[in-house]
């Protein structure tokens, strides 16, 4: 009975009107756009690759993003991975919050990001690259790596701009293990644009305005006592997003490692779906006042 209630609720949620998940095609770089208040976005961010000397892996993060207020978005990630010839593992969770600093739009817009992550060493989702993260981290045997606990606080300064249809974003990352280890740094930056700036009058799936193309670059910057590019990993990743008329967005990004310590190639792919005004619609569904 309990299971069928959960099932009915889940189906009802999926039938609710969707909104567009307009975050753009990036996987690692955040723009200054926050979730609309009351909207819930569900997304998956997956990555597969075969590091030199390691087994092919597929890692995924399930993301639940909720717009609390116009200037505050909160988000939970659940991470997992499967590696060829090894185990399938749940690797931890992350809870992040983003706060918009300025009430109005400017030529550059800062957003503060704070995250607590409780993951283990087997996590391969690569949602950010910091310090001297390298492909060696992806080759460790999962059963051994999961013993390493990574309870970390991460802060980002997100800077974003919209210029003549282009989205430009820069992220500066600082991360600290809550128990030990030095401050670790990284960066991400991206630029993207829809293929058409004006919308067509008809409802359509394959319209140029439904596609966004871009490129992002991300990598590590060492630690506070060993800061710089030496021995760090860096990736360049073209990205493409396609949003259907019902708001479902698919995005894909081949990532190319450009330093010796980077994995040579990673393929990222994901899907997102946003439910508009979920609280109001849930109240209405259960007979309450909308």
């Amino acid at each position: 009975m309990q299971v069928s209630c959960v099932y009915i609720t889940a189906v009802a949620m999926l039938l609710l009107p969707a909104a567009w998940a307009g975050e753009g095609p990036f996987f690692v770089t955040y723009t200054h756009q926050l979730e609309e208040p009351g909207n819930l976005e569900f997304a998956t961010k997956n990555v597969t690759g075969k590091p030199d000397g390691g087994n092919r892996f597929l890692a995924g993060a399930a993301e639940f993003e909720y717009g609390v207020l116009g200037w505050w978005t909160t988000e939970v990630y659940l991470d997992g991975q499967v590696t060829g010839g090894e185990n399938t593992l749940f690797t931890g969770y992350r809870w992040e919050n983003r706060f918009r600093v300025l009430p109005h739009e400017h030529w550059i817009n800062p957003v503060l990001y704070v995250e607590f992550e409780n993951i283990n060493g087997a996590d391969k989702t690569l949602l950010e690259v910091v310090n001297h993260d390298s492909q060696d981290d992806l080759t460790a045997f999962s059963a051994d790596a999961l013993r390493e606990k990574q309870r970390e606080i991460e802060a980002k300064l997100i800077l974003g701009s919209y210029v003549k249809g282009w989205t430009i974003a820069e992220n500066f990352i600082a991360e600290k293990n809550v128990r030990h280890a030095p401050y670790e740094f990284g960066y991400a930056a991206g630029i993207s644009r829809p293929l058409a700036l004006a919308a067509r009058p008809e409802r359509c799936n394959i319209c140029p305005e439904n596609f966004q193309a871009g490129v992002e670059m991300y990598g590590g910057l060492g630690t506070h006592d060993n800061f710089g590019f030496n021995g760090t990993s860096h990736y360049v990743a073209p990205t493409l997003a396609w949003t259907l008329a019902d708001g479902t967005m698919f995005h894909v990004s081949p990532s190319f490692g450009i330093t010796g310590s980077s994995a040579p190639f990673l393929l990222r792919f994901g899907v997102s779906y946003e439910i508009a005004q979920i609280g109001r619609r849930a109240r209405s569904f259960f007979g309450g006042r909308p």
């Binding site: 009351g38 116009g70 003549k164 989205t167 700036l197 004006a198 919308a199």
Partner: protein, 123 residues
């Protein structure tokens, strides 16, 4: 202390104003390059359904805290003021910024919203 009081007084006054009233003069002066374009209004209707209807209602009638847009003052507002509201939102009042939409799409939405208000029957 005096500065703090003045700051909060200014903030209260700003919050008491509607977002349309807050639009600076140079934005109000902007003309809608798509005004009167039927195709733009049609595209705007599609964008409105996608971006605005969940809060403002399918026909702009308003829902909960989100105000109705099918109103005479919205229909007659300077298009530049509406553009400013879409650009900046009203974060403290719960409306997000729609600056992520290309300018052309924001003008399409404004074309539709103002046509919607013009269609409203006199009360």
């Amino acid at each position: 202390m005096k500065r703090v009081v003045l700051f909060f007084l200014g903030l209260s006054l700003a919050l008491a104003q509607s977002p349309l009233q807050q639009a600076p003069e140079r934005w109000r002066a902007k003309a809608n390059p798509l005004a009167g374009d039927a195709q733009a209004a049609q595209a705007g209707a599609k964008l409105f359904a996608r971006e605005c209807a969940a809060c403002h209602g399918d026909n702009g009638e308003g829902l909960g805290k989100a105000p109705a847009l099918k109103r005479a003052d919205v229909g007659q507002a300077p298009p530049g003021a509406l553009f400013w509201v879409l650009e900046n939102g009203a974060l403290w009042q719960g409306m997000p910024s729609f600056a992520h939409l290309p300018e052309a799409q924001r003008w399409q939405i404004i074309t539709y919203v103002q046509a919607l208000s013009a269609r409203k029957k006199p009360e």
